[in-house]
């Protein structure tokens, strides 16, 4: 009897280099026929030691390193680091800078979600949809490049404010571009939400219950797709206190729900950006920073992939003692394992993608 059972378990290695995974992540799948019964993840392929680098770079220069933790949510990493230092040094950032930070962080959410939609379409084999999503994303990248100078590495944040202002004219163009994108992105998103073949691949796959999502500490769209209404932006950091928006939630907790949350968040971000542009005050964009930080701070922000936590410890010199970033993908791995258990082997790629894994962030 025991022997027969042993025989039925197969272990299939998956990754770190795999056609459907854009990121180096390794799994060992324990299969029973085509069903996944257990998953053992392992990471550690692209650890770059960025946290320890904080002891070798002056705290003002480390902003550039922090931004390079990830190539997609780069801006919020830079911003989070800056705001942690600002909290230690008790610097109050000018209002205009707060709004500019908000606009850029929401733009990065839009481009990240469009990138994800493309990758998801690619994973379930819908090439045309993949290309359309990335074509739309290009428009956002153009706005970003025009206003900051970089496509994915913005380089716009600094301690005490921002390095670049957006002119009123550029803000107006931004509104026009975003208004034009509504229809375009709507067409693409409607395919994700309504198409029968897409639904076939996403509905009822990789279900994560509300209780599991909460107790396993899932964050971001993964958590909201399971019905927990939690968004760090509601803490009102930066200029978010003045912005009116509702948290997007879904209840099914499957791949489709996670996709739908991201789709709705794109439009929500458009709405937030437009609100911010209509409310943005004038004035300076940065304050002068003198001295060195002394103390520690912990801050939380909402990345496109979920809640991120930064911890900074300084000792009064130009070099910090500790910097730590707890990235959303790291928090989502236990929930992903739970969602993978019991699924079909053919659905693995889809489920892994729906947490929007960013392993470079996770390993720093």
């Amino acid at each position: 009897m025991e022997k027969a059972e042993e025989k039925r378990h197969t272990i299939v290695p998956f990754g770190p280099q795999h056609p459907v995974l854009p990121e180096p992540l390794h799994f060992d799948f324990v299969l029973e026929d085509e069903k996944v019964v257990d998953v053992i993840p392992s990471i550690g392929y692209i650890h770059r030691g960025l946290e320890i680098l904080v002891q070798k770079r002056e705290f003002t220069e480390y902003v550039y390193v922090a931004e390079r933790i990830c190539g997609i949510c780069s801006f919020i990493h830079g911003m989070g680091y800056c705001e942690a230092i600002e909290e230690i040094m008790k610097i109050s950032v000018p209002e205009r800078a707060k709004y500019l930070r908000l606009i850029w962080s929401e733009l990065s959410r839009v481009h990240s979600h469009l990138l994800w939609l493309g990758l998801a379409a690619d994973a379930f084999g819908f090439e045309n949809l993949f290309m359309q999503a990335w074509r739309a994303r290009e428009l956002v990248l153009d706005i970003i490049e025009e206003t900051t100078g970089g496509r994915v590495i913005f380089g716009a944040c600094k301690i005490g404010g921002v390095r670049k202002d957006i002119t009123d004219e550029s803000l107006k163009t931004m509104v026009t571009v975003i208004d034009g994108m509504y229809k375009d992105v709507r067409t693409i998103c409607d395919v994700f939400l309504n198409d029968s073949s897409v639904k076939e691949r996403l509905c009822g796959i990789g279900i994560l219950s509300r209780e599991d999502a909460y107790s396993l500490g899932a964050v971001g769209p993964m958590l909201r797709a399971s019905g927990v209404s939690y968004d760090t932006r509601k803490l009102g950091y930066g200029a978010f206190g003045d912005i009116d928006f509702d948290i997007v939630t879904e209840t099914a907790g499957d791949c489709y729900a996670r996709c739908a949350v991201r789709v709705h968040e794109i439009f929500q971000s458009f709405h937030i950006i437009k609100q911010a542009i209509s409310k943005i005050p004038g004035g300076p964009i940065s304050v002068k920073v003198t001295g060195a930080p002394n103390g520690e701070a912990m801050v939380r922000y909402e990345q496109p992939r979920g809640e991120v936590i930064y911890y900074v410890k300084a000792n009064g010199t130009k070099f910090l003692t500790r910097f730590r970033a707890r990235t959303p993908t790291f928090a989502n791995i236990p929930a992903m394992i739970q969602a993978l258990k019991g699924c079909d082997f053919a659905d693995v790629a889809n489920i892994v993608l729906t947490i929007d894994p960013c392993i470079s962030c996770t390993e720093r």
């Binding site: 480390y62 074509r135 290009e138 490049e145 970089g150 380089g155």
Partner: protein
């Protein structure tokens, strides 16, 4: 359930002009703000060394005594921290990228480097 939701778009694709460009005959417009590469006007430089201090990657080497300024292009991350800090505005961030290297330099031998 909706079927063929992408069909309209697929048909339109046949008649639309491509979203991509025929590079290199059509080149993408460059934004004025794009951070391309650092340009240097050596005539105004006072060799103060501030840019070297401000560079997060250590790409710039300034020699005060011999009045030389060097940049290692491959180490530069185009952050514009040096050009923001230069007191004489000798450095500027240009919006074009440096071109590809087309002439392959023969690597120097160890003897040539040490001058033996």
């Amino acid at each position: 359930m909706a079927y063929f939701t992408m069909a309209k778009d697929t048909l339109a694709n046949l008649f639309r002009k491509p979203a991509t460009r025929m590079y290199p005959s059509v080149v993408r417009e460059i934004f004025p703000a794009t951070r391309g590469h650092i340009a240097m006007d050596i005539t105004t430089c006072i060799f103060c060394g501030i840019c070297q201090k401000k560079c997060p990657t250590g790409a710039i080497k300034v020699d005060r005594a011999n009045k030389t300024w060097e940049i290692e292009r491959l180490a530069c991350i185009a952050c514009a921290s040096c050009s923001d800090a230069c007191p004489k505005q000798s450095l500027s961030m240009e919006n074009t990228y440096t071109g590809p290297v087309t002439i392959l330099e023969k690597p120097k031998t160890r003897e040539e480097v040490s001058g033996a």
